[in-house]
Symmetry: C2
Amino acid sequence: MALISKSSEYGLRAALYIAARPDEAHVSVREMSAQMDISFHFLTKILQRMTRAGLLASTRGAKGGLALAQPAAKITLLDIVRSVEGDDLFRECLLGLAGCGEKRPCPLHRHWAKERARIEKLFRKMTLARLARETARDGLRLAD
Amino acid sequence: MALISKSSEYGLRAALYIAARPDEAHVSVREMSAQMDISFHFLTKILQRMTRAGLLASTRGAKGGLALAQPAAKITLLDIVRSVEGDDLFRECLLGLAGCGEKRPCPLHRHWAKERARIEKLFRKMTLARLARETARDGLRLAD
DNA sequence: TTATTTTAAGACCCGGGAGTCTGAAAATGG
DNA sequence: CCATTTTCAGACTCCCGGGTCTTAAAATAA
Ligand code: FES
Ligand code: FES
């Protein structure tokens, strides 16, 4: 079971792809879908959501494409994932019970809430800028 | 997006339900499905998998039902979840890339692997006995 | 034996995420 | 103007996890 959806995975990979670009030029969906082996049309839909959320800036027509709408240091993983799959990530009960919280905790709440908070913090603190830097420094991969 | 599947959630809740029973009597699927508001037939399928995995012992016929096949102190959350949804939990890349590992890490591997290991450890160390004890002591809930 | 209660097993269905396809609209270059 | 390249928008199909249903088999009680 994956922590995030396929859509979020693709959105993160695309954001990293754009941020890792040295120049500021726009990147086309066509190029990203080819380089990372992701369905062009499906990736398009995901990036549209991120554009509407104000994370990306799009330009149509020849020489068009997508670029970051904010400095890479301002965009966090949480921003991206939330823009793609909604806000209630990191708020759900591990056992799927309704109303996760201190008021009516399930047997695993105390233990799970602690780990969940750590992951949420990781996503909230990690910026595209930092990841792009690490990616370039260590030559990390964005595809299989 | 949930960390574990609905099937695992139900399997965990049922295991806790059985472990929380003071007496050693067998518990019927019918009772558990009613008490926790889970589909009877669906819960049956999940508990069958746990039975085949050697976690539960089943007895058919009148007065039959399910019981733990091992002492509650020997059964971990990891045992249960693995029996329900396979072994490659806690081994997958956060970005969904094939072959997660130190050899060909993705940009998030270093950060994600650390958190993933903590959760895996939590599941590996936590026993039904301990959870049942805490559940009884604090009157925690197993249903909405 | 017969009826009842329970798990075991597997076929079946359904809804939603994942992915495809078609046709626009916008921008550029000639 | 026209042709090309790109994003935008939405309808459409496919697949599988989640859930239902039916039948068999095992055990108990009368
Ligand atoms: S109530 Fe279950 S994790 Fe919070
Ligand atoms: S390779 Fe991506 S998390 Fe390990």
